[in-house]
Subunit: 156 residues, 4 copies
DNA sequence: GTGGTCTAGACCACG
DNA sequence: GTGGTCTAGACCACA
């Protein structure tokens, strides 16, 4: 992860999903957030019925406008992923637990893109796989180092 | 590669680089093209001195505006990747063969993104690696099957 | 129609859909617009493939912000009613011609509300029907008077 | 009335006004309630001097916050429709029995909106009228069927 | 010219 | 406190 990311949520002992945006990315911020929420739902990090961080807090933590967060949430609501309740934080819908199949399927598009790029780069599948292995290890290490505590208990 | 892609180049006996764009993608077409050219250069598919297809032809084949192709080339020229010569097609610069290190490095950002997503999806590195293996195999198979004619050999 | 409405589109000989917003209404402007577009599609006033007025023009004519128009269109796109094409005006989708059944069904919710209110007002169905008849006549008259020409030919 | 409605009042032998709110509606609940009370007053279902259900009871029956009920009542009080007396339930004011003319006038705005929508849908006044007739019949039937007990007589 | 993204801030509705 | 709506204006991407 060479690009700078701004993080929000789940710090310290708090056990919640982490939200990050890559400012440098060309992908609109609200889309980064929306797909991130979907991944957190797919992973179980966000369960149906869970409340999301408030728009204001996220906007503040991530350093983006309230409207941008709102837009992300609105997109997710239009896709049936979140539900609105008057005057309450948004909540993960329980009607549509996983609309794109199991968690693993949400990763496929990115990997397909990687495969396409690897092919254009003239890399063999083996080379591509090995590089991914390296990248995964590096990420894992970084993560492990970062949180010295056993990752915050799952069911706090 | 579930999304529809429009292809151009490397047909018949001609063994040249293949250009494709995903209309549905949110990534600007000119950027898709520019990064694709860079990958072809990194892979050696396009060597320094090689001529690129004409703007008109690419625009026609890919079904996009000439402006869009121009913009991609313009971007590459401004990065020193292509050079323009009076009334001639653009050629690959030999001054800056690989500005991002070996080919493998151009794949890293996408894989880092995949790793980040895998982590958010709660997948283990092993699961992510396995899925990538599947995807690479599928892509390889598809490619092999597709080109019955001895056109451009599958990079491997 | 006692409330003031700001109109846009389809003036003079131009035969296009008319867009209006009621400023005084509590219904958000973008929702007023979105449901209006749906009605125009259901009526055939807007056919699949037709382009909508540009965001800027509508915003200007209706005296609202560009973002507000954009939000209405975005909502319609998320419902599959409009489709976006790079750098072109939005267009009525042909994939989902009428997702709520025939035109008449789009009127039902409002009439159900009216029926509920009539009942609470202690009106008999006959009284309610008669009042609706009066209102329809009034509207019809007003419309006829307004456009002295034969309403602009349907298939211009 | 396809939307779910939560009801309160007029149960058992008690013959009083019925209050309902549509949770899913975008219209604020307190406004739904306030306009409903006005209709009940216009219909005579609530006569000047009649007491309204207590805030607590309505809140409980309708499953909304007491604040919301209070807000509705406050609005009505500020409009002179209800009057507050020390420690007693609110009663219908006799000063302003029908501030918008006869009952039928309270229905007009909704019917005007329906007429506007019908026009945008390309329906003839005859079609619109017929649909309203159907809707009124359906509502009437449902109501008759629903109340097997000789509770509050259907208004007719 | 088209639409899209984002911001900063004001104001509203609901609890 | 929550989210929603709207604005005015800046900047970007695409034709």
């Amino acid at each position: 992860m060479s690009d700078e990311r701004i993080e929000a949520g789940a710090r310290d002992a708090e056990a919640g999903p982490r939200f990050t945006v890559a400012e440098a990315s060309l992908e609109p911020i609200y889309m980064q957030l929306a797909s991130q929420v979907k991944r957190h739902v797919a992973s179980g990090m966000l369960a149906p019925g869970d409340e999301l961080p408030s728009v204001r807090r996220l906007a503040n933590d991530l350093g983006v406008s309230k409207m941008t967060i709102s837009k992300a949430f609105q997109l997710l609501e239009s896709q049936g992923c979140l539900v609105r309740r008057r005057g309450r934080p948004l909540v993960v819908s329980d009607g549509v637990p996983r609309r794109a199949g199991p968690a693993v399927e949400l990763l496929r598009p990115t990997l397909e893109r990687a495969a396409q790029e690897a092919s254009e780069l003239g890399l063999t599948p083996e080379q591509a796989l090995q590089l991914f292995g390296n990248v995964l290890s590096a990420a894992d290490t970084r993560r492990t180092v970062k949180s010295k505590m056993p990752a915050a208990m799952p069911a706090a």
